[in-house]
């Protein structure tokens, strides 16, 4: 059922509309709509047209280099890869428990990354759509437009992001391409002055995060129907949760629920992930399609990321964010919590949670400790799983006796969401395209749907670099009818 619009019965008779690549999405992707003679969408696909296997760069390299090396996978979320690879390599050096200080410093870095990534996504990439509407003038629908119409919101967005970057800088050693997470611990202690520099701003950060959540809630309240309906579909979900069921974005066991909310598995140890999750390859996309093994590829797909985490955790272990989570789940009889645009609201609740966690970590004296490294017995295999800003991230390495990586398998957040994104495009196409001519605003509805997932296509394709924006219209015979170049805008 879920794949009915993936492959049209007679694609050779359809007109092809390609949006390439999706603007204001990190990386390079292409949406193709196959239209029939009446401009009805018969087929919708988000495909990835470029791929350079990053695993090749890792193979043959020493394991201690990998946490730094993998940051080159993606200019957008290097910290998530850095930490995830370090977690995998902790296993390789036989360290199953970090020192209390190392664990806190890694968490601090991670929640700093969550904060800056969610702030960037909301204020720079999504707020223009949400504040001005999906059909509004393209020229205005960007961060410059937001800054003109809502200067306070734009300013807070910039400061929230800066704060997150500063947390990353003091913990990782650098704003980008830090090196502090090493197999078995961290290489850098937090100085008192660095801690105090962050503490003095943290209450503003929490306050602005609360205001951002409230702003999003108001948008849902103003137009609950659109928000609940837009690109909506039901899906299973996957995320890490803490042993007591709490949200934990740094470490935990895997929990999955099916489309009806019934448990599929719970507290699965990260190093057994491949007993539960498999990946399917489809000829039309370089991005793989992961699925839960017990349900099979047709029914076993799921969502990851803020929406999934909100639904799967039993509670958020910080007070303001937990209160917001309850309001989110209860809103409109739970309809927001299952909607594509619900990602935005959930993302900001996580941003608030990250701010609260950062405050707790900064106030914890153990964060200032100097015991940074633990040791253990060398092993041949390491699996790290982390809840990155965009969802579950899996790094799996096999390391030989010479200390070189012989096999690497990475499943990035955006790849987990592959089918869900395709699904939401189909829903949007169904709702907004049928029988109508193509306009910039209509095409943007599709982009809005994809953007809700905050996909990182540069990560998902493991590609390096980005492509210019191109919109092409191709007829059934494969001829290009129309082509337009678009400015990628502030994609980064």
């Amino acid at each position: 059922m879920s794949f009915e619009m993936e492959t049209a019965p007679h694609p050779e008779q359809l007109r092809r509309v390609a949006i390439e690549p999706v603007s204001r999405v990190e990386g390079h992707g292409k949406v193709t709509l196959l239209l029939d003679d009446h401009n009805r969408v018969q087929q919708a696909r988000l495909h990835i047209s470029e791929f350079r296997g990053f695993e090749r760069f890792i193979q043959g390299r020493p394991y201690w280099e990998v946490p730094v090396l993998v940051q080159r996978l993606c200019g957008i979320c290097p910290v998530s890869h850095h930490l995830c690879a370090a977690k995998a390599m902790d296993q390789v050096v036989g360290v199953h428990r970090l020192t209390p200080t190392a664990e806190r410093l890694r968490r601090l870095m991670h929640y700093g990354q969550i904060l800056q990534s969610h702030a960037l996504h909301f204020f720079h990439l999504s707020s223009p759509d949400l504040l001005f509407g999906f059909d509004s003038e393209v020229a205005r629908r960007n961060i410059v437009g937001v800054a003109a119409a809502h200067p306070d919101i734009a300013r807070q967005g910039v400061l929230l992001r800066k704060f997150g970057q500063e947390v990353i800088r003091v913990t990782a050693g650098k704003r980008v391409h830090g090196t502090s997470a090493v197999p078995g611990g961290v290489n850098k202690a937090l100085a008192v002055a660095e801690r105090d520099g962050l503490l003095k701003d943290i209450y503003d950060i929490i306050k602005w995060s609360r205001e951002a959540v409230a702003l999003t809630r108001r948008l849902f309240e103003q137009d609950p129907d659109t928000y609940a309906r837009f690109g909506r579909f039901d899906a299973g979900a996957l995320a890490l949760v803490r042993a007591d069921g709490a949200m934990d974005l740094y470490h935990g066991g895997l929990r999955a629920r099916d489309v009806a909310g019934e448990p599929i598995f719970d507290h699965v140890a990260p190093d057994t992930y491949d007993d539960y999750i498999h990946e399917q390859v489809k000829p039309w996309s370089y991005m793989k399609f992961p699925y839960i093994r017990s349900l099979g590829p047709d029914d076993g797909w799921y969502r990851v990321g803020p929406l999934a985490r909100m639904a799967l955790c039993d509670f958020i272990p910080t007070p303001f964010a937990e209160r917001e989570r309850k309001a989110f789940l209860a809103f409109d009889d739970g309809r927001a919590a299952g909607s594509t645009l619900g990602y935005h609201w959930a993302r900001l609740i996580e941003m608030l949670h990250a701010a609260e966690v950062i405050k707790d970590l900064l106030q914890d004296e153990q964060t200032l400790g100097t015991e940074l490294m633990a040791e253990g017995a060398r092993q041949g295999r390491g699996v790290g799983i982390i809840e990155a800003p965009r969802g579950t991230l899996i790094h799996h390495y096999e390391v030989n006796e010479e200390d070189l990586v012989v096999r690497a398998n990475l499943i990035v957040s955006t790849t987990h969401n592959n089918n869900a994104m395709n699904q939401s495009i189909r829903e949007v196409a169904r709702q907004y395209f049928d029988g109508r001519e193509l306009s910039e605003g209509l095409l943007n509805h599709i982009e809005v749907a994809i953007r809700a997932f905050d996909p990182c296509l540069s990560c998902a394709t493991h590609a390096l670099g980005r492509m210019p924006l191109e919109v092409t219209l191709v007829d059934a015979g494969g001829h290009t009818v129309d082509r337009a170049l678009r400015d990628p805008g502030e994609a980064c």
């Binding site: 043959g60 390299r61 020493p62 201690w64 280099e65 946490p67 730094v68 090396l69 940051q71 080159r72 050096v93 050693g173 650098k174 391409h177 830090g178 090196t179 502090s180 090493v182 197999p183 290489n187 850098k188 010479e402 200390d403 070189l404």
Partner: protein, 246 residues
């Protein structure tokens, strides 16, 4: 009362002892001249040419040129720095130097000299040579992607360790580092992690395993000060068998 002989370097008077080269005398006086294949504990080798100066109007290598009383030396001139930049660009182009993921970043003399000379462009099309990693030894590994053929490891192994573990083979563009084992593997040589040869490589070729990235950014040798401000660190000294890792 005896006065020591001197020469002038960019107008500054530099004293020297008999037998010292221009580079040795300058570094002893805490005056920097760019260099790569020179090491304070070894006899000069004169292969990289990054230390090229003008002594009494002639282009010569500072690391091998004997200091002479009354000599006039030009060092920090645009002309010489341009030449040095080109040499550094060529070294970057000939190997595979990926600084962002290299564990020797912040320790590497090639990187430090490149930063100091403000080498900002590639300059040449990079060769991307295919050079294997040798991780066969349990404690030391070789990333030959970064070798600049300075022969410091060869000299250290021969002169200090007395083991002859390293050597250069081939000519011209085909010149490369080899190890003294029929198998070609470091594991089958006499190499030990405590060897002098394990600590002299100016770039990140010969490295102790499992130690990468242990020094945080900000505390690595070239984080605080550029190499040009650390001349005294390179003043000649007698070969030491064990030295604290820097």
């Amino acid at each position: 009362m005896s006065t020591s002989p001197t020469f002038t370097l960019d107008g500054r008077e530099i004293p020297f002892e008999a037998g010292q080269t221009v580079l040795q005398a300058a570094l002893t006086a805490d005056v920097y001249i760019p260099h790569l294949c020179y090491h304070p504990e070894f006899k000069p080798h004169g292969s990289c040419k990054v230390c090229t100066i003008k002594a009494d109007g002639r282009h010569v290598s500072a690391c091998t040129w004997p200091a002479r009383h009354g000599m006039v030396v030009e060092n920090a001139t645009e002309e010489l720095d341009d030449l040095r930049r080109t040499l550094v660009q060529m070294l970057f182009a000939e190997g595979n130097h990926f600084c962002p993921s290299c564990e020797y970043s912040g320790h590497c003399l090639l990187q430090a000299v490149g930063y100091d000379l403000q080498v900002e462009t590639a300059g040449f099309r990079h060769f991307f040579p295919v050079r294997p990693v040798d991780a066969s030894h349990p404690e030391v590994w070789l990333d030959l992607n970064r070798c600049i053929l300075c022969e410091l490891c060869v000299r250290a192994s021969d002169e200090v360790d007395g083991k002859h573990v390293f050597g250069l083979s081939g000519r011209g563009a085909g010149k490369h580092l080899i190890v003294n084992a029929l198998s070609g593997r470091l594991a089958d040589t006499d190499m030990a992690a405590t060897d002098k040869a394990a600590e002299v490589c100016p770039v990140g070729v010969i490295l102790k395993k499992k130690a990468g990235f242990r020094v945080p950014i900000g505390e690595r040798p070239f984080d605080r000060e550029p190499v040009s401000a650390q001349a005294a660190r390179y003043a000649p000294r007698p070969p030491a068998r064990h030295r604290e890792e820097d």
